[in-house]
Symmetry: C2
Subunit: 312 residues, 2 copies
């Protein structure tokens, strides 16, 4: 019997890769672990994890020999790392290989929202362009002021792209970073008050829950546009919805939501929001690289070699 479980919504290519390398048992969801017979569970040393369901003490408790949870994705907020560490379980993730895709999407979402590109597309496709003339004027992006909340690897990649649009870059981070002329703000409310666009690139998890608070959203103001490519949990969603519904901010561009994919239907009624279905890293090339890095971590663990990208 295999020592490896592969848990989550893997696509065919990913299943093939895992099957060839490790011949794991595939489970759709961590809730299915308890249904495995005890003899099998006692053998499992390795979990290849994907998805946003919680993987914590209960799940680990079913796998007494567990030594590695290899997460597919850079964000590992679904996994209870503190419990894993306490149990001697290593956790790995797939950083860096997805930075480009997430940054590309963030920049395009920001411009789409500011330039009203979805509405303009409908204007053209509905025949209104021919009947009623030019689409209304929108707002200029280049030369504007952007604030990055969380200047980790992805935040930096976003800032570097936006700098090529001649934007003035401001950021919040836990500590000031060595940056090329960007302005550090230790207070996220002050940051939001200084910029036209606020791009959230925080890690997920309890520490950043609702970090982009009602006060931050309020400070962004009626000209402000919020972009979130991190986790839905990092933004106080009730405050965001209210601000969007009442025009207290100009708009938002969101790849992530609380309770995704069953997102709050109030978002659907808004025409000042660009909605993407958490496709930040969703390209063929990047998902293949993430799957490979996950496999490489598992392979290293099983061979007793150093892990490629350990989290704990």
């Amino acid at each position: 019997m295999t020592r490896t479980l592969a848990i989550g919504p893997y696509n065919d290519a990913e299943k093939q890769g895992l099957a060839t390398a490790f011949d794991p048992v595939f489970l759709d969801h961590p809730g299915a672990i308890a249904g495995l017979d005890a003899q099998h569970r006692d053998l499992v040393t390795t979990v290849a994890y994907k998805g946003h369901s919680a993987f914590g003490a209960a799940e680990m408790g079913h796998l007494p020999q567990l030594g590695l949870v290899a997460n597919y994705g850079v964000g590992y907020d679904s996994i209870d790392v503190a419990t894993a560490t306490a149990r001697g379980v290593k956790v790995t993730n797939t950083p860096d290989v997805l930075n480009d895709d997430v940054a590309d999407l963030a920049v395009a979402m920001l411009i789409m929202q500011a330039r009203e590109m979805e509405r303009a597309s409908r204007w053209a496709r509905s025949g209104k362009w021919a009947e009623r003339g030019e689409y209304r004027l929108t707002r200029k992006v280049s030369g504007g002021r952007v604030g990055i909340v969380g200047l980790g690897r992805i935040g930096r990649d976003i800032a570097e792209r936006l700098a090529a649009f001649k934007m003035e870059v401001h950021y919040w981070s836990r500590t000031e970073k060595d940056t090329p002329g960007w302005t550090y703000h230790p207070d996220p409310v002050a940051l939001a008050g200084r910029v036209d666009y606020l791009v959230v690139a925080l890690v997920g998890g309890p520490e950043t829950e609702a970090f982009v608070s009602r006060d931050v959203i309020q400070a962004l103001g009626p000209h402000g546009i919020l972009v979130n490519i991190s986790r839905g949990s990092t933004v106080e969603e009730a405050a965001l919805l209210e601000a969007l519904e009442t025009g207290r901010i100009a708009g938002a561009a969101l790849d992530v939501f609380c309770n995704e994919p069953k997102i709050d239907p109030r978002f659907y009624a808004l025409d000042n929001v660009v909605i993407q279905p958490h496709t930040g890293s969703g390209t063929v090339e990047t998902r293949a690289a993430m799957a490979k890095l996950q496999r490489d971590n598992i392979g290293a663990f099983l061979a007793g070699a150093p892990l490629m990208t350990p989290v704990n």
Copy 2:
């Protein structure tokens, strides 16, 4: 009676600006010139021009004292400059002030098409995300190869932005330019064969008519995406439509079309095209800057001072 005619679809702010400065007579269309009485036409020295209707020998012939056609827009292909020059009429345009907006839109359209952002938005908003799961994987943009056709000011601004996406930049231009490591291709077909994305940033007019020919489109190939923010006339539209309909190229992102705004309805049936209603320069900030530059050219002309941005 005023010496100035303002011809074209000006918005309220633009009309106000022109009225305050020059108290012109406003005409919706150059065809209305002939309807002015001869005494008035004989006084006109200056035309503030906007729009895509032809302004040529017939129109100039109605205005014997005409000395300036000040175009609103960088592209002045609607104006017969050769005839203007022969008649001693100066032509001005509004270069540079719109480069940023056009480049911003080009980059966002490229990413929107590659990452299928409009379709993914519909996937989320229709509830399919909740019912059927993740949107399908798309293609990575960063690190790809882009070819710019026409490396003028706007083409260069697009290339500089895309370089920040770690893209390999290739270009065609009438002559090789001094560029930071970008690759020059004297043959547009060879250029199209080398790249994943082809961005058209040519000037309009008869010299570039269908420059992006059937052969260029064919060379771009089934993985290729065409972006056009220049003029519809620069692309052989019949060949483009065929290639999009048959999958001989992967997709297109178009801000300009032949016969716009009454564009070919075959475009509406395609889901591999991002359509924008010629909004390249369509922001409040940039249109105000264009209007000001047009007024500054007229003011200079009327004062006998050097023109700001002469074309001939």
